[in-house]
């Protein structure tokens, strides 16, 4: 069975500081990895997916199969990045396995 681990419940940084939200997974096959974000009073939405290899809102995430990780990074955090971030894995059939989430707080 697949599992997604986000070790930090809360990450608090100052504006302009680098951010790294950790995500590790366990899955025997080739997974698809995603980061979802939920801003205050908004619904959960896709931030980025590893297949796209894109940068969204300054965030990037690289899939490291050797370390089974998919950490989310941003070089300079902004206050509007404050939100709940969920790492998720798809093992096919469109179902997602989510981590417990990390609350990112960016202070001025």
């Amino acid at each position: 069975a697949q599992r997604v681990t986000q070790p930090e419940k809360l990450l608090s940084v100052f504006k302009g500081a680098p951010v790294e939200l950790k995500c590790n997974y366990s899955y025997s096959g080739s997974p698809e990895l995603f980061w979802y974000v939920q801003y205050s009073r908004q619904r959960l939405q896709l931030l980025l997916r590893h297949i796209s290899r894109e940068s969204i809102k300054g965030f990037t995430a690289d899939l490291n199969k050797g370390e089974t990780s998919f950490h989310l990074k941003k070089p300079f955090a902004q206050e509007e990045d404050s939100a709940m971030y969920y790492c998720a894995l798809s093992a096919g059939y469109s179902t997602l396995t989510f981590g417990k989430g990390t609350m990112l707080l960016v202070s001025p």
Binding site: L44, S94, F98
Partner: protein
Amino acid sequence: SAVISQKPSRDICQRGTSLTIQCQVDSQVTMMFWYRQQPGQSLTLIATANQGSEATYESGFVIDKFPISRPNLTFSTLTVSNMSPEDSSIYLCSVVLGRGGSEAFFGQGTRLTVV
């Protein structure tokens, strides 16, 4: 993209009663998913609702407790039956679009409190 309307957005219910949550999607989708998010926990998949067939339940969830309807390709309901305080949670409806199921869209959630 997909727009999902979920209602009610919140409710406070007495133990022993049942609540039906509705989910409406603005496009036709084969599968709709129901998740539960308990306080401080991750999203956990309850079941997959397929149009024209029985829902597929994940381990730990049973049809008697969480009956699901899927009358057409744009609508589904989840009922939380014989509720207890342990059922207090946020319930989310979701669909997946895109090639290979590449993006999930979520309703705004139903915050249920059982007293």
